[in-house]
Symmetry: none
Subunit: 551 residues, 2 copies
């Protein structure tokens, strides 16, 4: 079919706002900026960044995101209608939304008569005025997307009033009417019928419709698709469906179904979905959540075939046991190498190292990745560690220093006067020079980081440019309590570039140290800083000095 | 409406057969029998127990289950059509199915012409003969349920042939035609249309229809419901949707939607669903799988409320933020204490502590929660720490011990020979007794945990019952790198109950220690273990002893 005949359906991501309502989910400022960039790269049309009235972090997000080029992606600030009995211009929430200076503002208002009178405690007329005046005020500054909270339940309770709330927003200039199944319990046939009716009832306005579903009935994907078939042109949801209770509509599943199953629509401006699996995992890692292996399209098991069949037979008939080609969403079939998550990553990085045609090197890298993944490594967020792994396996890695030993001491010297402390010592060789240093820190890892830099900065002054911007810890096998393996991810930056490294160990100090060492080595390799050449004799002397000082 | 006008929809559970194809899932013989009993108690109409040809365990299952009264629940044995070029009576698979002596046999056959000719390597005519002769042979012994594999893909490829395969089974006496979306990629509108057509095309036979969906498109629940609306009278699926790739249709969601949302159908003979949450968790535990917190209807978060605004509304009228009453499926509402929380969240929890009417106590708790949340605490996963906070604020907390100091040492004594180590020492007072202990561990926190227990177990033997079941770490403000605040969550269990505690500090060791101390204090408080009374003089002596031993 001709691509130009496809109806574009816009994708609105609210991972950073509604998604962060999920249990145990919270994003740092840097997380929010990183996720927004990734969503923009994917071609997501709208990114709801937060709720500027609620906290300083969201205010800072909107300030910083303005200076970042996101292509065609529009950032949205989210907020509620003005308070009762107050002018929109005087309302702090309205002012915060305008101050966010986003191209779009998403305004949420009450549809359900019960919620207006019993929760907000305003008359039905005042609720309409709150919607209309808020939309009118915000519309002077930005495009207004009107989210009609509880639309389907509200329509069920009082259809005329529900439509009146939409008309109030539309009359005030809102561009989009987004129908929300806030409680997530509506069935697809109800979504379809009510969406169709709402569109008809607003036919006299120049507005477009969207849909916002929750998954309480396990129907959020189906409901989003049903609304699109009924005429909605925008779908709101979150990556991986994270969100409170049972979550929001999963944009991963919505976008995949629309792009790959429904030929009459176009999503993401026709872009490929080949980075969708990567995006899904990036969001899980950033939110510090476990992946869902069985997640449709992008889960690790989504194309896993248990086989008694011969490999060739599976490869031959595989497509007839798969609903789509996994490569279309950046996922892969798992038959033989069950643990391997990133074959395409390996191929891509191998290409950067000019070894894509080197079969033997590729096999070695693959084997090493499988071995490390079995230990709990995960390279999705640790591109710099993966880069160093490739260098090591292909023999192009020479270390800039050798660690001899390190130690941290941390605790509370006196719990009554609260004298918490953390200290680290480190001994390492740079060429034939022995460095022994100590440092204090806010915690053991901070102290270790400080000691490592102290020992290296004399030889490698460029390390003063770099600093840690994020530190994440997760338990790989949480069933074993504090004895479980621990995965540490560190994100470093030198102002021009940021890079991720990883360490895994039962001991959090060792895991952290390994990630710190990779961060430093990556910086030195990317700057092409030459490795010092150790002289064998001096090296021996250094060893002697060390064993003398050890007593 | 009159309950007698409801159309019964029969539930067919294949957790024990198709569910066990899921990665990491396997059931012992006793597991299978226990799960079957539970499914029967729930009122599930058919339980597919296994594949008698495949293994001895399934053969033994069918032998043993015959002697157990399962009420109206029918056990089914599962198997494929006879092999090519062989009489049904001579086929070992057919013989095994008959030997299982179940009231129903589920026979699976090929619908898709490609699979017949390319995978089975038989002619289209021979495939029809295999279906018909197998159904006829098995039908002499039991009711035959015919599962039409790949029905929707097969119908798409060759609709006439797909219908022929059903007619072959129906003509041979099969009672049920179950249309399988084996690859799980079909959309609800296709399911509905094709199901309707198939029913029409088989109108000359006395057969009923069923549906069997997989969740590869995140649509298995919607697809099952769509088939029911199109005339299917049986739904096949698994408890919690476990199964290979993205799993089967989740009978938990299907049965809940049919019973609670669609008034024209009756399921489980009209029984209550109040044991559904229990059944879901029982199956997770038996299969040794993690629960899915966000699972619709039965997940731990399915009725968890976080935002202050919502909780305020919930207390007014629960139904306005819940799609169903959680008690209907045996689940319960949870109020989460979160960073967005307001007074109303606290009030809900305070009610459980019988202090909801104590205005002054409530104000103090609120102030303390706000202060701690600003430091990075989050109580939603740390109910035990919140419980202790309420006790402390209201003056009903007396500690069971006082920490004097603690320290961990961790590192690598020799990076070349890789001698990673972690040690902890602790000094604490229990009443007037001073304890000074040390322990090693896999990492610093594990060592600290061991030292703390070592110091306390002599006084409090009940602590031997408890152990850590999860340990989570995250950076609260990750923008500051390793100097950021660190939040540690610990989940502990004593076999009867599990409880969550929290610690926050810039120093991960201090954060972990505080969470460990709360875990121990919670256990001692809930067991009503009396606090030892310290004598002032002995305490001074202990202090003297301490300062002497410190040199």
């Amino acid at each position: 079919m001709n691509a130009t005949t496809r109806q574009p359906i816009l994708m609105y991501d609210t991972t950073l706002r509604d998604g962060s309502q999920g249990e145990g989910v919270s994003f740092s400022l840097q997380d929010k900026i990183n996720v927004t960039r990734r969503l923009a790269e994917m071609g997501i049309d709208f990114v709801e960044g937060g709720y500027p009235l609620s906290n300083e972090k969201d205010v800072a997000f909107f300030q910083q995101i303005r200076d970042i080029d996101l292509g065609g992606t529009k950032v949205c600030a989210f907020g509620m209608t003005r308070r009762r009995g107050m002018k929109a211009a005087d309302d702090p929430g309205m002012q915060a939304l305008v101050a966010a200076q986003t191209p779009c503002i998403t305004l949420v208002g009450k549809t359900w008569d019960y919620h207006a009178t019993e929760v907000l405690r305003v008359s039905l007329e005042e609720n309409l005025a709150m919607i209309g005046e808020s939309a009118e005020f915000l519309g002077r500054h930005s495009d207004v997307i009107y989210d009609a909270e509880h639309f389907f339940d509200g329509y069920d309770a009082n259809p005329d009033y529900a439509i009146e709330t939409l008309r109030a927003a539309a009359a005030a200039g809102a561009k989009w009417m987004v129908l929300c199944d806030t409680n997530g319990g509506t069935l697809p046939e109800q979504i379809a019928a009510v969406t169709k009716t709402a569109i008809e009832k607003l036919a006299d306005f120049d507005v477009r419709f969207g849909i916002h579903c929750h998954n309480d009935g396990d129907l959020a994907t189906a409901n989003s698709l049903a609304a699109v078939d009924a005429g909605a042109l925008q779908v709101q949801g979150t990556i991986n469906g994270i969100g409170e209770r049972c979550g929001n509509a999963d944009l991963v599943a919505v976008v995949s179904n629309l792009a790959l199953k429904k030929s009459s629509y176009e999503v993401l401006g026709g872009r490929s979905l080949k980075h969708l699996t990567e995006l899904s995992r990036y969001v899980y890692e950033t939110a510090n959540l476990q992946w869902r292996n069985g997640q449709p399209f992008v889960g690790q098991s989504a194309f896993a075939h248990k086989g008694g069949m011969h490999v060739h037979a599976i490869n031959k008939a595989a497509s007839t046991y798969e609903h789509i080609d996994p490569a279309l969403v950046g996922n892969e079939r798992r038959i033989l190498i069950s643990e391997l998550s990133g074959r395409s990553n390996i191929a891509a990085v191998a290409e950067q190292h000019n070894i894509a045609d080197d079969r033997e090197a590729m096999d070695k890298i693959l084997a090493e990745v499988v071995r490390l993944e079995n230990e709990g490594f995960q390279f999705e967020n640790a591109g710099a560690s993966f880069d160093l792994l490739v260098k090591r396996v292909t023999g192009s890695f020479t270390p800039h220093f050798d660690t001899i030993k390190y130690r941290v001491v941390a605790g509370d010297r006196d719990s009554r006067s609260h004298t918490v402390f953390a200290e680290a010592i480190i001994k390492l060789m740079v060429g034939d020079v022995l460095w022994f240093d100590a440092a204090e820190g806010h915690g053991p890892v901070n102290a270790l980081d400080a000691a490592l830099r102290k020992a290296l900065q004399g030889t490698y002054p460029c390390l003063t440019e770099m600093h840690l911007i994020d530190y994440k810890v997760r338990v790989v096998d949480s069933g074993a309590g504090t004895a479980a393996s621990i995965r540490v991810n560190i994100e470093s930056s030198d102002g021009n570039e940021s890079w991720g490294t990883i360490g895994v160990s039962e001991n959090i100090i060792e895991a952290s140290y390994n990630a710190l060492v990779d961060a430093v080595e990556y910086k030195l390799h990317k700057e092409n800083v030459p490795q010092p050449v150790a002289d064998a004799d001096s090296n021996d002397q250094a060893d002697l000095a060390e064993s003398a000082s050890a007593n």
